[in-house]
Subunit: 392 residues, 2 copies
DNA sequence: CCACTTATGTCTAATGCTTAAACGAAAGTT
DNA sequence: AACTTTCGTTTAAGCATTAGACATAAGTGG
């Protein structure tokens, strides 16, 4: 049997960064397993593991079952006490969470807010909440911060773009406020996209996430990365035109999906019931108000028609619905029914249509993934080690 | 100034494969430029260039302008006399082309065929054509073969899947036939996807390619790679349901896009004119037949509505139309008009809607890209060199 | 409790890739 | 002819990596 050895010089997984990546992806490998999978020599591997351990990247965990001799010990990624702070902004409330390195929420605080207020007055209280949450953890190390918000975000800079929901916010307002509080790796992402990434279960999975709250947002994840498109507007399905004429949308056009199926559109249609938020609409539906259920039904019907096209275009493994309205069971059922009826069997077959996790959890998960990726990307790690090795 | 050096051990671009990649991407770099961009030592770089030259991967080309001293000489990827064979199968005819390594067609032969015939009787004559075309080239080296065909193709194996257009073909019929003729790297791809890749101009461009011929096909390219989706059905937009009820589609459902806008659908609607191929419909339109123009107009209108949704979902840089019907100027105009009217300005702005190159050229280009990628992928090249270096 | 097995931990000399530096020749410019 | 810049080759030194040996640790099975 020939074990495929890939020396470092051939771009193989032998540098500190790739070794860490390997350890991080496979939860717990023994030294023997590392030796055979990387093909490194004993001496080199041990040297690497030594440095990684001394610098706190990995640790030796519990022994594996013996196969007749001395049992091997698992080498694990050092995640003990490491946390990420996730700030999840919605239209009417924001959640600050502390998560472990896998993105699981450990504890959180939610507070009301009005996203149309100035950036500072929205963010400052949340940053205070974050400080308080961090203070409650003993022996925790904060690795980085992720922020999601209901507006377009520029991928590289983290700047807020075309902020129609938050017109008063300067592009760099979020970066500036958070960087002032914590000088750590920071990731900013649109809410639906963060949630989409959070709902993804495996690296190969294609996921379409649709958030129906006050507005309609959407995130698409293909092979582990978020689809952005030419100007970063990919997934902006709220303004798909469903009918040549139709209800007036906030964007000034007629017949947009958002004018049919968004929380705001439903509120408008049920104007005499005086709902003030998408959440209230959802509550009324849960309470069984037939008029509301009816409105949601037709909203879901239209959304389902639109998503049938999206699904046909992208052939995802899963279609996940989120948001105060999107995650209502009856809404999901109706959308699923429409989508599965409209999409050819070849594509629909095996596809899951389901309600996502609560949005703050999904976004927290996605944001953590982004933060961890940034910090522990093999090249980033190698750069850390090259400083000491003395490479210019 | 600190030049960023990335030693091979850190996965930097210093192995034979990555060096070749660098030379291949930047057309013509001097040794000096290579020294400074890779950060390698003179001795190592020269050794690498030496091996690459001796093995015929690169060559020394014309000198650059002098800057006061001895002029530097360009190092180029060895593409002289290297060709790729592309076989492009349509419903009614097939083209065999010889292309240079950039995918530019050098010479070609087109012959009629019926794709519903058995695989062997379709492929064998084309393979003969290929042999003849190759014989006409002096001092040419065939690097590999690409085949595109109007049916779903499994990505890794190149097997034909769910062949509704070609029900009699065994999954491995194409692989088997071509491998028997030439034992060289072989790539098989769906026609619209190959063309989509061929229409792409840069690595960052997001392109949606739609082929309207007898049927409707679509290929989506994001960051240089073809979007495939969960079961490889991404882009199968022909069966987006446009209306709850509507004309009967071949798939057995009603209101599919293909039942409105495909060549076959148009033929059916113009049944009394007795067209037998999509090409004839196109010819009649070119001749100005008002009835045909009218039918095409409404077909384009429906397609435009569907594509507005696709474009909104993906936010592409370009929407390219191909196929015997799709590339008609009046058809493109009508689709563009509808799409640009239906898509929010934020997304439509800057997006090009245009007719693609003739399909055999686009597919030839795309197929060549795939073949070249397979052969000259850094890791593949490194593997070639590791054999000799003696690495196990 | 003892033999056996398998993993861990450390060290050695040898190997081989990569580097820095120097030098001479080549091929332009002014 | 003097100057400049690139090309091409060689040297010794440096460093990372390797194979292999050897000792130790920690289980299993009789």
């Amino acid at each position: 049997m020939t074990v495929e050895r890939v020396p470092a010089s051939l771009g193989g997984a032998t540098s500190h960064g790739y070794l860490l990546e390997l350890i991080r992806s496979a939860d717990g490998l023994s030294r023997q397993q590392l030796l055979s999978t990387t093909g490194m020599s004993r001496a080199t591997l041990y040297e690497r593991l030594d440095t990684l351990t001394r610098r706190g990247y990995i640790y030796e965990a519990e022994p594996l079952d013996s196969t007749g001799g001395r049992p091997s010990r698992k080498i694990r990624f050092e995640d003990r006490g490491r946390v990420v702070l996730a700030i999840t902004l919605g239209q009417t409330h924001g959640t600050v969470s502390i998560a472990d390195t896998t993105g699981t929420q450990l504890r959180s605080v939610t507070r009301d807010l009005d996203i149309s207020d100035p950036a500072a007055s929205v963010l400052d209280p949340l940053i205070q909440d974050g400080r308080a949450l961090l203070a409650r953890g003993a022996d925790e190390t904060l690795l980085g911060i992720g922020v999601s918000l209901p507006a377009p975000v520029e991928a590289v800079t983290g700047f807020v773009k075309h902020p129609t929901t938050i017109p008063g916010w300067a592009p760099d307002s979020v970066v500036a406020a958070v960087k002032a509080a914590w000088d750590l790796p920071l990731v900013i992402e649109n809410d639906a996209r963060a949630a989409a990434l959070g709902e993804r279960n495996s690296d190969t999975e294609t996921v379409v996430y649709v958030k129906v709250g006050t507005g309609i947002g959407c995130g698409i994840v293909v092979e582990g990365s978020i689809l952005r498109g030419a100007h970063g507007s990919a997934g902006d399905i709220g303004h798909i035109r469903m009918t040549p004429d139709g209800p007036l949308c906030r964007c000034g056009r007629r017949g947009c999906l958002a004018a049919y199926s968004s929380g705001r559109a439903i509120q408008d249609r049920l104007g005499h019931l005086h709902f003030s938020t998408a959440g209230e609409v959802g509550d009324a539906a849960m309470a069984g108000n037939p008029e509301v259920l009816n409105a949601l039904d037709s909203a879901a019907e239209v959304l389902g028609r639109a998503l049938a096209a999206t699904v046909t275009t992208l052939n995802p493994d899963r279609l996940v619905l989120g948001g105060r309205i999107g995650s209502l069971a009856m809404f999901v059922d109706q959308v699923a029914h429409r989508v599965l009826a409209d999409v050819v069997e070849r594509i629909a077959e095996g596809m899951m249509v389901e309600a996502g996790h609560p949005e703050d959890l999904a976004a927290c998960h996605g944001l953590t993934t982004l933060v961890m990726r940034e910090i522990f990307a093999p090249r980033a790690v190698d750069r850390m080690f090259s400083d000491v090795t003395g490479l210019a």
